[in-house]
Symmetry: C2
Amino acid sequence: MTQAQALVRQPATSRSREISARCSACSMHQICLPMGLEEKDMDRLDQIIGRRRKIARDSHLYRVGDPFTNLYAIRLGHFKTHQVNPSGDQQVTGFQMAGELLGMDAISTERHHCDAIALEDSEVCEIPFSRLEGLFGEMPQLLHHFHRMMSQEITREQSVMLLLGNMRAEQRFAAFLTNLSSRYSIRGYSSTSFQLRMTREEIGNYLGLTIESISRLLSKFKKRGWIKVSNRDLELLEPVTLKAVAAGTQTCA
Amino acid sequence: MTQAQALVRQPATSRSREISARCSACSMHQICLPMGLEEKDMDRLDQIIGRRRKIARDSHLYRVGDPFTNLYAIRLGHFKTHQVNPSGDQQVTGFQMAGELLGMDAISTERHHCDAIALEDSEVCEIPFSRLEGLFGEMPQLLHHFHRMMSQEITREQSVMLLLGNMRAEQRFAAFLTNLSSRYSIRGYSSTSFQLRMTREEIGNYLGLTIESISRLLSKFKKRGWIKVSNRDLELLEPVTLKAVAAGTQTCA
DNA sequence: CGCGCCCTTGACTGAGTTCAACGGACGTGG
DNA sequence: CCACGTCCGTTGAACTCAGTCAAGGGCGCG
């Protein structure tokens, strides 16, 4: 029996889901929700995961006010989340990449508090929250890691508060680049060479700056020889300097 | 047998803890972690809660880098939390009051990421996190509410990001006052008349403004007849207007 | 080719900071 | 009880960083 035949003979429920869609086969499982689970537990998690959904670039994963039923684990691609205040202006609250969890802010009110939008064609795993809660009682490891992920989100947001509340423009931008760099590094990508998936405007909004300021900062950093930019392609030539600027140890002047 | 005698005759373990220290007898139990629990479950939660600790004004509940063992529920008083960045400047990340939970940002790394400091003489319940996790398996209601509280913290921080990223000074300050007002209201206190427990400097730091700006804003709002101020005593004379300013529907000009 | 979107750059503006001086509340000690 | 120092807050004047406004460039796509 060939491998192809073996695949064909699997029951329909298995065939309808690609093998690569299982947590254990996903390249993100060391970072994502199933981190640290044994094979057996990972399978149980797999069983509750609803669908793997494709989200086209610029389309919404969810919107403010949508009822909360699922968390979403990003398998592939990038997202942004933004809030809208009563007078209509937006604040980008984060950029998320593969292995990160979306929707945790909706647990408290069972409604989403922000919009989540794909920055490129992306793929997510739908995790029905009530079923996930059902697993927690029997899988303390899963629960513990879930708490770590929520806690990490709190920590992340606190550091953005520090950024928005205390830092000057160039410090903010250096911190932003440094943050992206380390997150790509964790995922096994280059920490010095990557693409910006978001527009200058989205970066500016996230950092509490205008698009013009971001543009000027890119030019300034380029002139200093700290980075190389061409459209959305970015190379960090002086990552150590950038880290120092982000930390406030060094300035641009 | 008199009541006094009855108290004396109670076993030492009971005597060492005041009756009012039990969750079911605490005025915050409708807001705090035990929200919605039945008497029996509340007792179980009580049993794992370590101590009720008094924290003197200006002293630390925990510091950045302290190992994480407990969450803290505020029974009485007010706290602030702040982060410190590498170059030494601080960012106040929140002001907490009775019924709120402190320390959730430490779960991810098992180290505290910020300092928590009492703004006045306060009291907290020490909740050993590992024992709390032990209860989760058997008390899904408790777990669910814990998730709601973490999620609420994420939401709260997102709205601060919106504030710091998008709002003008007067809008920030109006949002701050409105937020305090509604939190006091939930706790059964006056929503229009309360004391500021923090200095102008702490408010400014939290809102990404200087102490001078806060002082000027107080004067401005007073001149407009929106508030009455005398040192730390505050009265909101036009709460509706303040809400509108916070929402960006109305300006001060 | 032409249109739209995204980005860059320059000149000017202004909200909020910085600097500085002062005032008032509170606690301590003579 | 007053003198003194400290901490906290207020107010004014000058400055500055980032925003606003405006014009133009470059790239992709129909």
